[in-house]
Symmetry: C2
Subunit: 360 residues, 2 copies
DNA sequence: ATATATTGTGCGACTAGGAGT
DNA sequence: CACTCCTAGTCGCACAATATA
């Protein structure tokens, strides 16, 4: 009987350790040993088993393994609705980054949807109770986000992309150092000869926005530049355009503007052009996020590129190095954005007289 | 003993059918009956079990269920690298749509990465062999995509977002009717009084691009409009801008341009503005995809919005109604995009003399 | 004692085939 | 023969405890 036709591939049924063992003439446990502690198996036996594994194209059944080890090896990630049609390439890059990083450690990313805030928590609870996922990657974190604390209280491992900015931070996170970014923008502009650098940001209250403002303010103070050139509005082109007009109408108008986002920078560029001024030469502009249209010819906006891929890799690293159960010391990582210099912040001549003259 | 302290929640261990049964004084099988065929259980017993389920916050373990039923209830979706920094909001919307639709049927979406083309197939094979996923949702389908045929041959259920455009189509797909979209654009422009409508598209060979061209051509023929105003280049603003210049320099220049993408439309708008012409009034432009910046004030580009959410829902519906194993009759669905009319295609006055005059 | 291979048991849900009224 | 409930065994892997040389 052995070696007979009863051990053929049996289309439909997938191979198991038992079927591999039978083909190799060993027990299922020996197959397991070959896979997990090959040094405990005699060379000859090991090769026989490895041949059988290849013959049958055996791959361990993840589901059975998960049941036994009580780990899903799946990271939950909540896909939020697109917020106001915003151009969020950042999250797509992030998603790909965590997917890749997870795969390198034998994990996968599982998507789900949940209501924002408190109302979404039952969804997280359900995913855990069903053992659908082990751990979570959070993004789109908001001020006072309830998820972090809820997860910490239950000993569920997670890492967030972004701080909550609400006093005590619960759990680990990785974030981009917005302040360092805007400070780098100021340094760059100062180097280009600018002496009056404005900040165009969002209304107070958003952690991210306030952070970017702080970086600008710090750098201006460090260079001895005026720290009162601040305008704030919602993240829209029109609003930004209007505020830019106000800034340029000032008696001592700024020659450069650091913006909290590329959207604000777009409005800023529009107003500058509308006045017959040339971005870069007459008024420099720096945006934030390095969205795809920043690199478009005809726009060429200098912008701060967030290291999203690195953030994703770091999030997964922290998350998978974390032990389940009681929370260890929470870890934080702050990564610096890189300034992509384009023509919107180049070509300035410090002499104020040359501004109009340059238009011939 | 019953109701005693030995049945307490036992923090850490999650409830099982057995623990629920013990609490309710019945066997685990009765618990199963309560959940799956409640009519076979006496009312009184059922209520007792339901109470225990609620007390213990019992939720069936998906992993154990998957092992037994040999179904992962997970849909695999491959996240591609961002292609040349393009603004692909479409895929993000799609991802969210399939996630939601899957959840309504007790499924989830699992992400993975794979090499494009033939080289990615082993990744698909591995996911299946490991029983990590049951079925696949394909997107980013290319001309001559090997995946569809490979999956059909193995009896793996899948549905693609997009055709392969390569003769025989394997398996089911849902796609957006690009030809209907560009035809609708032509109809709209004809209604606005345009008599010379150009098409600005991609080089021949891309199925999607050729389809959009065909829709334009058909509609022009139907309206008796010239069908030779065609320019083709890669999907970039600069290239588009140059070609638009060529079109506008023609003896009989078009008064309207239908573009195969919003990116091309952006270049088109840029060239129109650079010539001191007004989009809409002087030369109308219609884009494709309705990307977020189409709605930006100052751009206001008319564009064809793909019904991505509907596509996602339909993909999942087809996919989950599909039986595993041998492929049934493949199904196809073609959904029409909606034209979002904005000022870039409004305000035209048929009288050619009024074009320059309108600038005062 | 070491090196090598094996049997036994359980993760939790699910199914078939009963058993007691 | 309903109605109600239960026992026994399975899915594939993981790990402990053992057997054989």
């Amino acid at each position: 009987m052995l070696g007979g036709r009863d051990e053929e591939v049996d289309a439909g049924a997938s191979p198991t350790m038992t079927s591999v063992g039978r083909a190799a003439g060993v027990s299922r446990q020996t197959v397991w040993n070959v896979l997990h502690s090959p040094n405990r198996v005699r060379q000859e036996t090991r090769e026989r088993v490895e041949d059988a594994i290849r013959d049958q194209r055996y791959r361990p059944n993840r589901v059975a393994s998960s049941l036994r080890t009580r780990t899903a090896r799946l990271l939950g990630y909540c896909v939020m609705p697109r917020q106001g049609g915003e151009i969020n390439v950042v999250l797509h890059r992030f998603l790909r980054a965590i997917t890749r990083a997870a795969e390198e450690r034998g994990y996968h990313v599982l998507l789900f949807t949940a209501a924002p805030g408190q109302d979404g928590l039952p969804t997280y609870a359900e995913l855990l109770a069903e053992h659908t996922v082990d751990r979570f990657v959070l993004s789109d974190t908001t001020v006072g986000d309830p998820r972090q604390r809820w997860l910490v209280e239950r000993g569920v491992p997670f890492v967030a992309f972004g701080r909550t900015w609400s006093g005590v931070e619960h759990g680990s996170w990785v974030d981009v150092d917005g302040a360092a970014g805007t400070a780098a923008a100021v340094d760059h502009l100062r180097e280009q000869g600018h002496l009056r650098i404005a900040f165009l940001g969002w209304p107070p209250g958003s952690g991210v926005g306030d952070d970017r403002l702080a970086g600008w303010a710090r750098a201006c103070a460090r260079h001895g530049l005026p720290g009162d050139l601040v305008a704030r509005c919602e993240d829209s082109i029109e609003a930004s355009r209007e505020l830019t007009g106000g800034l340029l109408d000032l008696a001592h108008a700024p020659s450069a503007v650091v913006c909290a986002s590329d959207v604000l920078a777009m409005g800023c560029l529009a107003e500058i052009r509308a006045r017959g001024l040339r971005p870069g030469h007459d008024v420099a502009v720096v945006g934030f996020d390095d969205t795809p249209f920043a690199r478009l010819p005809g726009i060429e906006l200098s912008s701060l590129d967030q290291p999203v891929e690195t953030v994703g890799a770091e999030v997964v690293r922290l998350l998978l190095d974390m032990l389940s159960g009681e929370a260890r010391q929470p870890l934080h990582a702050l990564l610096e954005p890189s300034l992509r210099v384009r023509s919107s912040s180049l070509g300035f001549h410090a002499d104020p007289g040359s501004r109009r003259e340059s238009e011939r």
